[in-house]
């Protein structure tokens, strides 16, 4: 077996940098671990100012007063790592998420597909670099050995057993996953390096140390292979992004939305899928999260298409208080249909129509764009419905007006009747029985109205003929 181990030592910084798009050399930034009161990650600019990992906040601030401080969050790092795993999954099958900042990939079963270790290695490294992640790496026969080498910043890949053994033997015991008590005990007898430890016969050690230590050592030697839970990609897409500052203006949400949409695009493209509906949630400190659903009239994948719609939707959005995080969920996917009817010009129109309707709905609201359909009613009020309801009988009448007012209005103009009467007597089975005599009436200006006389002989106007 051959495993590669990538130890991502500054995931929080990498994720932060990717969001804001500034380069490493601009602002010194450190990641601060509150519980341990120490700086755990520092970018190159901060290191140049003298900040080192392990320093306290006061020391870091004293060395570099304008340092940007980010809070360390194990869950956030884990999420970044999971996204990375999603990205690598199409390239490599066996992926192990190790702790919150490392990823292990089994290589030996892939070598045949990629035609050699070099080719495979470059594919993986390219993907990791394009994800903008900094890491230490190494390869070994097992996850344990590879982890030790990566933590030792080996940064070389090989499948040669001798060189791996050599590299391993040089590592210090402090870098292994052994507990400090075992390390201290070993140090007392002069064992300080992994090489010395591996030379000792295992049954001798077994009498003195716990089972866990022995299990670890055999794994390190490549004699046993502990079982690992392999990474399985989730069925739906879900990503949350903590905003780097509290956003009050919706326009400032757009860059974050764009990065989320880019990840969605990567996700969809890798799976040859499209989606026609995405779902945003804007999170606040106090208020309930605000949900935004964006529906495309046709399925898209690309970030550009979605962003155009989301921009229109966001324009009309009002934030009740500054936003702290935004999440994107996508659960319905559609496969890309390759039916090859590009040659028909109507298809272009259909696509253009769908794009147009999507655009209008995004800007003006979902209920602003309607498809009038004939409804299941003889009364004028129910003849037009705006939802598509299948299999209902639809009625039409010659006398239907072009436009119907929302509410009938009292007729207070002098008019002349030019058509009618038509009596509609309906709803006798319910409490809202009505008996109306409909006419078409013309005003002195020639405007033709739909008027009716109700049971009390009052005259109303309800529509107009254009």
């Amino acid at each position: 077996m051959l495993w590669a181990y990538f130890y991502c030592y500054q995931l929080t910084l990498d994720a932060y940098k990717k969001d804001d798009g500034f380069t490493d050399c601009e602002t010194p930034a450190v990641v601060y671990h509150e519980q341990g009161n120490q700086v755990v990650q520092a970018n190159s600019q901060a290191i140049k100012e003298g900040v080192e990992c392990g320093q306290g906040l006061a020391q870091a601030a004293a060395l570099c007063p304008h340092v940007h401080i980010l809070a360390f969050n194990r869950e956030a790092e884990k999420e970044t790592l999971l996204f990375l795993a999603h990205r690598i999954y199409p390239l490599a099958s066996d992926i192990v998420i190790d702790s919150h900042n490392a990823i292990a990939i089994r290589l030996d079963n892939l070598l045949q597909y990629y035609g050699g270790l070099d080719a495979l290695w470059h594919v993986l490294i390219n993907e990791l670099h394009s994800a903008g992640i900094h890491f230490y790496f190494s390869t070994a026969w097992g996850v344990e050995a590879a982890r030790l080498l990566a933590h030792n910043k080996t940064n070389s890949y090989t499948d040669n057993k001798e060189s791996i053994t050599l590299l391993l033997s040089r590592c210090k015991l402090e870098q292994t996953s052994l507990d400090s008590k075992t390390i201290a005990t070993l140090a007392k007898v002069g064992v300080r390096q992994v090489g010395q430890l591996l030379k000792l016969p295992i049954h001798e050690l077994g009498q003195r140390f716990s089972n866990d230590t022995i299990r670890y050592l055999t794994a390190l030697r490549g004699e046993t292979f502990p079982k690992y839970v392999l990474f399985r990609p989730s069925i739906s897409f879900q990503q949350t992004k903590t905003l780097s500052f509290e956003v009050e203006n919706t326009q400032h949400l757009l860059p974050s939305i764009k990065t989320l949409l880019v990840t969605l695009e990567h996700y969809l493209r890798a799976r040859n899928l499209l989606t026609s509906s995405i779902f945003f949630q804007v999170h606040f400190r106090e208020e309930e999260p605000l949900s935004i659903e964006v529906n495309g009239a046709m399925p898209f994948a690309t970030q550009k298409d979605w962003l155009a719609l989301v921009e229109l939707k966001v324009e009309t959005l009002l934030l009740p208080e500054p936003a702290v995080a935004i999440s994107l969920t996508c659960q319905q996917f559609e496969p890309i249909k390759n039916d090859g009817n590009d040659l028909f010009s109507h298809r272009f129109t259909t696509v253009a129509q769908k794009q147009l309707i999507g655009k209008l709905k995004a800007k003006l609201g979902d209920d602003s764009t309607l498809h009038p359909k004939a409804g299941n009613s003889h009364a004028f009020e129910g003849m037009t419905v705006n939802q598509v309801e299948e299999t209902t009988p639809a009625y039409t009448a010659d006398m239907a007006p072009a436009f119907l007012f929302l509410q009938p209005m009292p007729l207070n103009l002098a008019t002349r009747i030019c058509f009618g009467p038509i009596r509609l007597q309906t709803q006798w089975w319910s409490g809202t029985a009505s008996k109306k005599d409909y006419f078409i009436a013309e005003t002195s200006h020639g405007v033709r109205l739909l008027v009716f006389k109700d049971a009390k002989a009052c005259w109303w106007t309800q529509g107009v003929y254009s």
Binding site: H346, F348, T349, A352, Q353, Q355, L356, I357, K359, L360, K363, L364, D367, S368, T369, L370, H371, P372, K373, A374, G375, F380, M383, T384, V385, N386, Y395, T396, A397, D398, M399, A400, P401, A402, F403, L404, F405, L406, C418, F419, G420, I440, H445, G446, V447, R448, L449, G463, V464, Y465, S466
Partner: protein, 237 residues
């Protein structure tokens, strides 16, 4: 080497430039043969030199309810059948049975209800630019020349027709559009005034017969005939 041009030469060359410019129409020229949609009323089609242009903005100033849409029935129903007819900010709820009676395919109709006139203009422009629409019907009383120009450009570049309905009281400034009409009813006939048309002179008082609602003529005729005829056979003498 610079040859000094005389002022006379310069004006001549400018005049020549204008002479050749395809977008300047001179009254002595015959109407340019453009693609046109017939309206179906012979007198009106002649006055418009073969109907209304297939693209651009047509402003119709009229009261709502004098058959102003029915006048464009043939344009709406017979051409570019696979494209959309978009009704933007109609004066009241558009009725599907009426559209069916008119002969419009309901599949190709969308109604857009923007909240403000500004949004309506935006929607109209998007529709015109989308290449998905045959005709955009827009109701707007606050249009300005600049917005009209925008719509005109969007419509003519994308070969789309825009019918702009305004109330007769708001017809103020002249707009840079293809066709400007006013409509009113006189003695049960529709009177069309062509305020402005491209490649042609204004024409006023075109009277065309117009029928846009069912009427009681059949009953009235029957009543009239009934009076003239002899007593019916079954009546008792």
């Amino acid at each position: 080497m610079n040859i000094p041009t005389s002022p006379i030469n310069e004006t001549r060359s400018k005049a020549a430039l204008f002479d050749k410019h395809p977008h300047i129409w001179r009254a002595r020229e015959k109407p340019v043969s453009e693609n046109k949609f017939l309206l179906g009323a012979r007198v009106l089609d002649e006055a418009l030199h073969g109907g209304i242009a297939t693209s651009g903005v047509v402003r119709i100033a009229s009261l709502t309810g004098i058959g102003e849409i029915t006048l464009f029935k043939q344009v709406l129903t017979t051409h570019r059948a696979h494209k959309l007819r978009v009704f933007i900010k109609p004066p009241a709820q558009l009725q599907a049975p009426w559209l069916s009676n008119l002969g419009v395919d309901l599949e190709q109709v969308i109604v857009v209800l923007p909240k403000t006139d500004q949004e309506a203009l935006w929607a109209a422009e998007q529709c015109l630019k989308s290449a998905a629409c045959h005709c955009v019907l827009l109701w707007n009383n606050t249009m300005e020349a600049k917005a009209a120009r925008r719509l005109q450009v969007a419509a003519s570049h994308n070969d789309t027709l825009c019918l702009l309905f305004t109330s007769p009281h708001h017809q103020g400034a002249s707009f840079p559009i293809t066709l400007d009409l006013t409509l009113h009813i006189r003695d049960a006939k529709l009177v069309v005034n062509i305020i402005k048309q491209r490649h042609g002179w204004p024409v006023s008082d075109i009277v065309i017969p117009h029928s846009w609602t069912p009427n009681n003529h059949a009953i009235q005729a029957a009543m009239q005939n009934n009076k003239k005829t002899e007593p019916a056979l079954h009546s008792v003498i």
